[in-house]
């Protein structure tokens, strides 16, 4: 049997023109969206002291009461006209329709609400959904809350639950373990580009040690919810010596499993300027997707150019001969980046962006993500971390939160390796951190200024799911920048 597709080539060409002109009209509706507050819990392997709704309440209280808003928090709460509740896994929570419990607990019924879910990118998609509610005019002031409690099952059962977010007919049955999927990607990434074990380990050292200055971080040994075996400072030998999980990834190359919650409040820009003297504008936002099975990414020679995924500062000759997307490529990350940069007018991220919170599920994926974000050429992710000053003798970076490139700082919070990965909260934690960075409030919330990026004007939060199936990129700017 054959099907007549019935789509003439000229129609396909016209489609692009029509799309571009329509999109221009839709986007320019005059509304902009700003972050006005953030809050989060301390993260821990097991927050048995609180239920999910109690954790979200803690984060919401912090957002309303501690962000120096211009009005009484109770009045501000009454202005909220929509909520987004994001959590990843019905299996971990053993509670469907959890949003109903959360909204009730926060006293935010009968406002419109929606659950955002997309694997590891659940938090980023939550913020993007909240952005869309405000941008569209369906709401002016939205609370975005994310949470996860992963501790109610054993770690191995948890690994299995996470792997249910892989293709359960073909991938889950033969591995059942996300670290292995990423490890196989890392093997190929290393094969293609010659990334070294040391470059991978450096990511772990940077993020884990940053986290020691993050009040909320699970590996911060001062956090009462930290566990002794997975907290405190590390050096590069600790990474090398940590248990092999799936070659080439060792225990300290892998992200955490966490309990906790995070909240941000998003407002229409004019309202935001009334609510706070220091709103942070969402100046660019993008989403991207790719195949569930990493082995299915349809690679072609020069595919990056054919799919129109070059960033403004990149030259076609860099990638004309590169097969793309490879099994190790995060095409979703690149698509989201391109969309967000176009909207934010980012010409060169190395010059334009000061601070990045990205989804370091594994050390390898942090290096890969530098490339998707255009901070390094494809294949040069390892060289980018080598631009940070490293003390070879001590096996640590010379500074906490080391500078990379000319003025880029990546994962000051410690990211998923150092701070947390309570899946539904993760993307919101990242946006909250960039928000506080641009407001210069890292000292206020951490009780030390080690992680504050001085003079940060633009930041970026990158949220990522699966083996790269869903990605959001959010560019944030100080008001007026």
């Amino acid at each position: 049997m054959s099907v007549d597709i019935g789509m003439k080539k000229d129609v396909v060409k016209d489609h692009k023109k029509i799309y571009q002109s329509v999109r221009k009209d839709v986007v320019n509706n005059g509304r902009e969206v700003a972050v006005v507050a953030a809050g989060m819990t301390q993260f821990g392997k097991a927050r048995t002291d609180s239920t999910q709704e109690e954790l979200v309440m803690d984060a919401t209280r912090m957002a309303l009461f501690e962000n120096d808003l211009n009005y009484d928090p109770y009045d501000i709460k009454k202005m909220i006209d929509g909520t987004v509740i994001s959590y990843f896994s019905d299996h971990f929570e053993k509670q469907l329709l959890f949003g109903a419990i959360i909204r009730d607990y926060l006293g935010l019924n009968p406002l419109q609400s929606v659950r955002a879910e997309g694997g590891g990118a659940t938090g980023g998609l939550g913020v993007k959904t909240g952005y869309e509610m405000v941008k569209s005019g369906d709401a002016d002031f939205v609370l975005v809350a994310g949470f996860e409690k992963m501790s109610e099952v054993s770690t191995t059962k948890g690994n299995e639950f996470i792997a249910l977010a892989s293709d359960t007919d073909f991938d889950f049955q033969v591995g059942g373990f996300y670290t292995a999927y990423y490890a196989a990607m890392a093997t190929r990434y290393i094969h293609e580009f010659g990334i070294t074990e040391k470059q991978l380990a450096k990511v772990a050292v940077k993020n884990r040690n940053n986290a020691q200055y993050n009040y909320f971080a699970q590996t911060n040994s001062k956090n009462p919810y930290s566990t002794k075996s997975t907290s405190g400072f590390i050096n590069i030998d600790d990474v090398y010596k940590s248990n092999m999980i799936a070659t080439p990834l060792k225990r300290l190359d892998c992200c955490l499993m966490s309990d906790g919650a995070a909240v941000v409040l998003l407002a229409e820009k004019n309202l935001a300027r009334k609510l706070t003297k220091d709103p942070v504008i969402i100046s660019g936002i993008g989403g991207g997707t790719d195949t569930m099975r990493p082995g299915d990414r349809p690679t072609t020679k020069g595919g990056l150019i054919k799919e129109n995924l070059l960033l403004p500062h990149e030259k076609p000759e860099w990638y004309e001969n590169m097969s793309y997307p490879g099994l190790h490529s995060f095409r979703a990350g690149r698509a989201a980046t391109k969309m967000a940069y176009r909207m934010a007018g980012i010409k060169n991220p190395l010059h334009d962006i000061d601070v990045v919170e990205l989804h370091d599920a594994f050390t390898s994926s942090e290096l890969q993500t530098y490339e998707d974000l255009g901070l390094a050429k494809y294949g040069d992710g390892g060289k980018f971390i080598d631009t940070a000053e490293f003390d070879e003798e001590k096996g640590v970076f010379k500074e906490i939160n080391p500078k990379m490139g000319d003025h880029t700082y990546v994962n000051p919070s410690g990211g998923l390796i150092g701070c947390m990965h309570a899946v539904g909260a993760t993307g919101i934690m990242q946006v909250g951190n960039i928000f506080w960075q641009l407001q210069k409030k890292m000292e206020k919330f951490n009780d030390n200024d080690k992680l504050q990026v001085k003079n940060a004007k633009k930041g970026l939060a990158h949220s990522h799911a699966g083996t790269g199936s869903d990605v959001t990129v959010i560019v944030m700017s100080k008001d007026g920048e």
């Binding site: 002291d49 209280r61 373990f177 990493p294 299915d296």
Partner: protein
């Protein structure tokens, strides 16, 4: 006081209980059931789409795991090809020393993505297991375990009503 201290619970009393949860699913493999029937019959099947004028690669698309429809042409696929005797290679690999609950007793275990170099391999880098020592089914990191290594499929006896993708595994082409 650190801001967050205000929001940390002071209530230390916790009751923690055990709650079991078991589910049995009646799952259909739908239009790619032939693939799983094939595993039962010791055959490795893929589907192929010959509508290459619509494919970004300009070549036929081989699908292993099989797809019943081509994502580029939107055409239902009814051509199945046998692949068990084809040139099959390791595209990438990892040796697992930790896993989800179902695989703990099988560790260490080598996971591979396979490729079929004779075909346009765009959609077909199937995930599977590589057994390097058939006798005791223990996998070890071997020097000859490398990208590009020639392998061949093997099939585990599994009743058809319980079949899943783990009925298929691979061994180095030099063994047996």
């Amino acid at each position: 006081m650190v801001v967050g201290e205000k929001y940390r619970s002071k209530n230390r009393e916790q009751i923690i209980v055990e709650q079991p949860y078991h589910i049995q699913y009646r799952h259909s493999f739908g239009e790619v059931s032939k693939f799983f029937k094939g595993l039962h019959e010791k055959k490795l099947y893929g589907t192929i789409c010959r509508g290459k004028e619509h494919h970004m690669s300009g070549e036929d698309n081989l699908f292993v795991p099989p797809r019943a429809d081509c994502p580029e042409c939107m055409v239902p696929l009814e051509e199945w090809i046998e692949l068990q005797n084809e040139d099959i290679r390791v595209y990438t690999f990892t040796t697992m020393y930790f896993s989800g609950e179902n695989f703990l007793d099988k560790l260490p275990l080598t996971l591979i993505n396979v490729e079929f170099p004779r075909y346009n391999n765009n959609y077909s880098k199937l995930i599977s297991i590589l057994i390097t020592n058939e006798k005791d089914e223990i996998n070890i990191d071997k020097k000859d375990l490398k990208i590009g290594m020639k392998i061949k499929p093997k099939f585990k006896e599994m009743p058809l009503e319980k079949i899943d993708a783990s009925a298929l595994y691979f061994v180095p082409a030099g063994i047996l």
